[in-house]
């Protein structure tokens, strides 16, 4: 029996969660129940052989790669990058080009929890009526610092999706992040 996340019907419901997440950044979206980590469910929904995926922190096993039908790609050129949030940033993603900003990578970052972390951040921008405060747990401080560099010249940049075991929170390149003391 194939796991739920590889079924088209399940992927459609995950996709709608991802659309909701990117439309309303900083909002926590709980994925429908499945046996896999939310990050894997999102990749199963969006990635296939026509796309490209990098796994710099070795989060995927061989079965995942076979099911995704995609070959590992270098982080510099991958459309999707699966990252472990507790590690420091140790790569440069593709930021796209001025005429093709959609080539900027999507980073799916595994974290412990959306809230309960040491540092609190304020998010504002497109999709948010009022600023939102979030304190991600298991996200190394270097991620948002690097993100600010990567996204400094709109429309170039990367889009982030923070994933806990069963929930996702998206930070498209339009979201402004400020650390609150």
């Amino acid at each position: 029996m194939i796991d739920l996340i590889w079924h088209a019907e399940f992927q459609q419901t995950v996709f709608r969660c991802v659309v909701e997440a990117f439309s309303r950044p900083a909002q926590i979206n709980v994925l429908p129940e499945c046996e896999h980590h939310a990050a894997i469910a999102v990749l199963a929904t969006l990635v296939d052989g026509e796309s490209s995926l990098a796994d710099p922190h070795q989060q995927l096993d061989n079965t995942h790669w076979l099911r995704l039908q995609v070959k590992p790609t270098a982080t510099e050129s991958a459309a999707f990058i699966l990252c472990q949030g507790s590690r420091t940033v140790d790569f440069e993603p593709n930021l796209g080009t001025l005429v093709s900003p959609e080539k900027g990578a999507t980073l799916v970052i595994i974290i412990d929890d959306i809230n309960g972390g040491d540092r609190t951040y304020q998010f504002s921008g497109v999709g948010m009526e009022t600023p939102v405060l979030i304190a991600p747990q298991g996200l190394h401080v270097s991620w948002f610092k690097q993100r600010a560099n990567w996204n400094s010249a709109f429309p170039l940049g990367i889009d982030m999706l923070l994933a806990t075991k069963d929930g996702i929170l998206a930070l498209p390149r339009t979201t402004q992040i400020k650390e609150i003391n």
Binding site: V19, L46, S51, G127, F154, P155
Partner: protein, 285 residues
């Protein structure tokens, strides 16, 4: 599947590609994301771009409303709705805006405001607002990336010089999130302000031109204008200075279509048929 067709007609690879494009379209508001628009069993120009978006989004819990120029009953709307019903067993279709989770529309944004849990898909014939001033797509892409819209502003200025008025009636160029200017599809000017700070996500699909773009919720959308020539919408006041009313429901707030009736008289009626019917229901009590 018993009839040998995948749910929602498109194969899963096609859906995934559209889905990836939709995500990037939301992340870069107003930017036209290219995608490999699939051949659909209807002519390009009949809403295949909007249809592909709808099919990539729709699932068993959705209730779909399809509108063509405000009406649920015109040929384009009926055929698209029938096609989705045929290829997506288990979904619901409706004509009532309040019951819909997914709304595909051609040339209108519904009269009543959308909710946060609804998604509006607009069918787009010409996605690029710059096409009237620059024929080369390569050059247009550079102009968009630099937010260089001076030639478009000159076109509007020339209109004012010649006609004392910006003469664009529909497809009014609109700046999204302070950067990209979009062609908001052939919606009337009256609908353009509804793009600004919308509750719902608005997606645009151009099948023939192979582009997907988006106006995310709570995003700024400013129609191009000048400080001394502000943007204005259609005027429905009569010669006595009174706002015309719909002949069916009597509403003085809706966007009106003009008809010539059998007696040769000019009459006005709501363009949004669902809104008009609901107003009449309210009046009947």
């Amino acid at each position: 599947m018993s009839n040998g067709i995948n749910f929602a007609f498109l194969d899963e690879y096609a859906k995934r590609e559209i889905r990836r494009s939709v995500i990037k379209a939301i992340c870069i508001p107003g930017y036209q994301v290219p995608y490999s628009s699939r051949e659909m069993p209807m002519g390009r120009g009949f809403g295949t771009g909007g249809l592909q978006l709808t099919l990539a989004l729709i699932g068993a819990n959705d209730s779909l409303k399809v509108i063509d120029q405000g009406s649920d009953d015109s040929v384009n709307a009926v055929n698209l709705r029938k096609f989705v019903e045929m290829t997506c067993p288990g979904i619901d279709t409706t004509t009532r805006l309040q019951e819909a989770t997914l709304i595909q529309s051609r040339h209108r944004i519904p009269e009543n405001s959308l909710r946060a849990d609804q998604i509006l898909v607009l069918q787009v014939p010409y996605p690029d607002a710059l096409v009237i001033v620059e024929p080369s797509e390569d050059k247009r892409k550079i102009m968009h990336s630099e937010a260089d819209y001076s030639r478009l502003l000159v076109k509007l200025y020339e209109d004012i010089v010649k006609f004392d008025e910006i003469t664009i009636s529909h497809r009014y160029p609109t700046r999204i999130n302070g950067h990209y200017i979009i062609d908001p599809s052939p919606i009337p000017r009256y609908d353009v302000p509804k793009l600004h700070n919308s509750n719902a996500l608005i997606l645009f699909g151009a099948g023939r031109e192979k582009k997907i773009y988006a106006v995310p919720p709570h995003c700024s959308a400013e129609p191009l204008a000048f400080d001394d020539v502000p943007f204005r919408v259609e005027n429905f006041t009569d010669s006595h200075g009174e706002r015309r009313a719909c002949k069916q429901c009597g509403s003085r707030e809706s966007f009106l279509d003009e008809f010539i009736d059998e007696q040769g008289e000019r009459v006005y009626q709501c363009s949004d048929s669902d809104y008009c019917e609901q107003q009449q229901e309210l009046a009947r009590g």
